[in-house]
């Protein structure tokens, strides 16, 4: 049972992690990103659409479907995030309002487009894109390690991709000049401007990256939870990712711990329900578990939070 909790927990935690890292990119550059929910949804929509297109027009592409999906989910999420970037960075819109509006826009737009595209291209009346099954694999030797072997058991392909992307993102964030400028922009944009770096460009890029990473997380959820894209993708995981990055104090390492906690809390809840032989109608209450925990932890963590100093501040070059 502990193994199930481990590998199911990981399958949930990793997509959440990559979405939260997206949020960190945006927020550490100084732009509040409440749009993660909408971005992950739009990314998943784009990815899923390309998967069914490939399946339809390129027979034989099915085994690579999940990779096509991931690639285009990142593109879609990144492009959709440009709305948030343009509004908040270049037109100085209120960041909270922009984020919330993008969430609503994404939800209705994808619902509309899914029906229309299904009708026009596939002659089907459906509000979902059916994805292929993502085969989970188990690594031969490593998986036999007691308990910890579960980490290498029933792994979704997207988990490996997410890990690689997360490592790359970490490297960019902590070690490259771009990452250094990004974090500085969230602390004191005037210092960055005086150093001859274009703050707006840095922030815009950060928001786009956050969209791409959220899209990657979104398509992974689409594969692992329902194996199709439908409006159920908007379950609030974007907000959960925001909670995770805040508990993680806007740092990637700590955020990893937070998402693991959420992931294991969720899978442990399911296992608990199973062990107690509760009927599946109780699933809904189990699914509230991570959110209940969020509320609880909030009490303890809120005090010591150190948000980026310039977070939410509209940057104006002329201001002194």
């Amino acid at each position: 049972m502990i193994e199930i909790i481990l590998y199911d927990g990981l399958a949930f935690a990793l997509p959440l992690l990559i979405i939260a890292i997206g949020g960190i990119f945006s927020e550490r550059s100084g732009i509040i990103n409440l749009a993660l929910e909408g971005l992950l949804g739009f990314g998943a929509f784009t990815g899923a659409f390309m998967v069914v297109m490939a399946d339809h027009f390129l027979p034989g592409s099915q085994p690579y479907g999940i990779y096509i999906g991931m690639a285009f989910a990142m593109v879609g999420g990144g492009l959709f995030a440009m709305i948030h970037g343009l509004l908040t960075v270049y037109y100085r819109a209120n960041q909270v309002i922009s984020g919330v509006v993008i969430n609503i826009l994404s939800m209705s737009l994808t619902a509309f487009l899914t029906r229309q595209l299904n009708a026009i291209i596939f002659n089907a009346a459906s509000n979902r894109f059916q994805l292929g099954v993502a085969d989970r694999f188990t690594l031969p030797l490593l998986s036999e390690i007691p308990v910890l072997g579960a980490v290498f058991t029933k792994v979704y392909p997207f988990q490996v991709v997410i890990l690689l992307v997360a490592l790359l993102a970490y490297l960019v964030f902590e070690k490259t000049p771009f990452g250094i400028h990004l974090k500085a922009s969230g602390d004191n944009p005037h210092a960055v401007e005086a150093a001859g770096v274009d703050v707006k460009r840095v922030r815009f890029a950060a928001v786009m990256i956050s969209g791409a990473l959220a899209g990657l997380g979104g398509i992974s959820f689409a594969y692992s939870i329902s194996a199709n894209f439908n409006p159920m993708i908007y379950m609030g995981y974007g907000y959960l990712a925001i909670a995770a990055l805040i508990f993680g104090n806007w740092q990637i390492g700590n955020t990893l711990l937070a998402v693991l906690f959420f992931g294991f809390a969720r899978s442990a809840g399911y296992e608990l329900a199973k062990a107690l032989e509760m009927s599946s109608t109780f699933n809904d209450i189990i699914m509230t578990l991570p959110y209940m925990l969020t509320l609880l932890i909030l009490i303890f963590f809120s005090k010591q939070n150190a948000a980026p100093r310039a977070l939410g501040e509209i940057y104006d070059k002329g201001k002194r």
Partner: protein
């Protein structure tokens, strides 16, 4: 050749010894002309001071040189090359560096990271990915700081270092970029006298090293001490360029203000009366429950100016806040005219006789979006005649009262009592607060940083108001970071360091140097 014709000359520069040439620069902002047809030449290797009142256009002119603003008219030439494109990056490429008045540092980065920001040394990872080479960076910064005798620890976080070190970091930032035209915008405003001496020494050494230094300031002694030449701005126009050695500070001051100024105060001997304020063992805790005022005791008599001198953040504002009731007193007792007020509320203290001119005028002194007449009645609006017994406010009384104060205290605004206070200049906002507080006729007046950010003319005005109140027999507590001000006004001086009054003595028994040493905590009374 007289000064103004030299300032407007348009000679070519055949020898190439000009670091900067500004030709007929005009920069407008909505409603004002910040720089009006300014032509100026700065030679290579000199220390050139730019002098002017607040709002005279010094910072704007230098921001143009630094590429933050683009002028509407005129040309900027740097080392014989005309600037075609205005951005900090371009200016930096031409060798212009600037230490801003408000430091531009990233708090949660190290000193080294701040210095190299935007120009990080990079090594390639896996043949392509550019990674910042922190080890090389730290080495480089350590070398650089040794070379220019500006020793800093590259690994320290900005949030952990004091203002003097922050300023060193800003200077190192310019030197790292190999700037050779260095602009300092009001660099000494926040430093202790010892730190000022050290900074001026650094500036001299930079000149010896072949750098051109432009110093923006309104402090005449400093300009006298280091500068070779100075340009004087008045209301956006360049009124003169002078050789500093042959110009008296008095002449510079009158050119800058546009009239004669007398900053030597005429202070009659004190006639002290009964004790107005008695503070016993005052302790104040900050929000984190840390003691910031640690057992302070002092007394102020009628007709006495008691000044608390010290470096910012040593507990002096907290003393003022505790006396006015804005902060809670943790322990100790406070007596106003022999009546204990330790636990009394703010309004009651006001009514019992405390006037307060706060440091942060815009947050604690005024309601910026209210008009002047409301702000002037802010401490009385609930009383007759402003409020009728039924609680209705009488607009006409506000206007009448405002008219009277505007007249007496010469508060200048666009629409008299009806002008929104936000639209007043800083000096006139301060006049409004002082007018309101003096008119309370309180036995105790607390002035915190009363001349911060004011220019010479307004300083002169404020000082004479304070001295007049002293003559009237008020007890006056003056909290100031400006040693000049403390020395000019105080009868008694207490020096605060780390929440404790290290010493209290009559002002005439102190030398400036001595106070400076107490301020740094290097000297203590036995």
């Amino acid at each position: 050749m007289n000064d103004s014709s030299q300032a407007h000359s348009n000679i070519r520069d055949p020898a190439g010894t000009l670091a900067v040439a500004l030709r007929r620069i005009t920069k407008r902002f909505p409603g004002i002309v910040a720089n009006d047809d300014i032509s100026l030449e700065i030679k290579e290797g000199e220390i050139f001071a730019l002098l002017g009142e607040n709002g005279a256009g010094k910072s704007v002119l230098m921001s143009i040189l630094f590429g933050l603003y683009e002028p509407e008219e005129g040309e900027v030439w740097i080392k014989g090359k005309r600037m075609s494109h205005f951005s900090p990056r371009e200016a930096a490429r031409q060798g212009v560096g600037m230490v801003h008045q408000h430091f531009k540092l990233v708090e949660n980065y190290t000193i080294a990271q701040n210095i190299v920001l935007g120009m990080e040394p990079v090594k390639r990872f896996l043949g392509g990915v550019p990674l910042v080479d922190m080890k090389a960076t730290n080495e480089k910064i350590r070398d650089l700081s040794h070379r220019f005798k500006l020793d800093v620890d590259p690994l320290q976080l900005i949030s952990e270092i004091n203002v003097a070190t922050r300023q060193k970091v800003e200077i190192l930032k310019m030197l790292y970029r190999e700037a050779d035209i260095l602009i300092f915008d009001e660099p000494t405003a926040i430093l202790t006298p010892q730190e000022v001496d050290y900074l001026l020494q650094i500036i001299r050494e930079l000149r010896e090293g072949g750098k051109t230094v432009i110093l923006i300031s309104h402090k005449l002694e400093e300009i006298k001490a280091v500068a070779d030449r100075c340009g004087i701005l008045h209301r956006g126009r360049l009124v003169a360029v002078k050789e500093v050695a042959q110009t008296s500070t008095k002449e510079m001051a009158s050119l800058m203000v546009g009239r004669e100024v007398i900053l030597e105060v005429d202070k009659p001997p004190a006639r002290m009366g009964e004790t107005v304020l008695k503070v016993r063992d005052l302790r104040v805790l900050n929000r984190d429950k840390v003691a910031v005022v640690k057992g302070v005791s002092f007394e102020i008599r009628a007709g006495e100016i008691f000044a608390i001198a010290g470096v910012a953040g040593n507990g002096q504002t907290e003393i003022a806040d505790a006396l006015t009731g804005l902060m809670a007193t943790a322990s100790g007792r406070v007596f106003l005219l022999d009546e204990e007020i330790t636990r009394t509320g703010v309004r009651e203290r006001n009514l019992k006789g405390i006037s307060y001119i706060p440091e942060d005028r815009q947050s604690y002194g005024l309601i910026l979006d209210y008009d002047l007449s409301y702000n002037l009645a802010l401490k009385n609006y609930f009383k007759e005649p402003f409020s009728s017994p039924g609680g209705r406010l009488r607009q006409e009384e506000f206007s009448r009262y405002a008219e009277r104060l505007i007249e007496i205290y010469d508060i200048r605004s666009n629409r008299g009592g009806g002008s929104v206070v936000r639209s007043l200049s800083g000096g006139n906002q301060q006049k409004a607060i002082i007018a309101r507080e003096i008119d309370q006729d309180s036995p105790l007046m607390i002035f915190v940083q009363p001349t911060r950010g004011l220019d010479v003319g307004a300083i002169e005005n404020t000082w004479s108001q304070i001295l007049k109140e002293r003559e009237e027999g008020k007890g006056i507590l003056l909290v100031s970071l400006e040693l000049e001000e403390v020395m000019a006004l105080a009868d008694t001086i207490g020096v605060i360091y780390n929440g404790e009054l290290l010493t209290v003595k009559a002002a005439k028994d102190f030398s400036k140097r001595e106070i400076g040493e107490y301020m740094m905590g290097v000297r203590k009374d036995a």
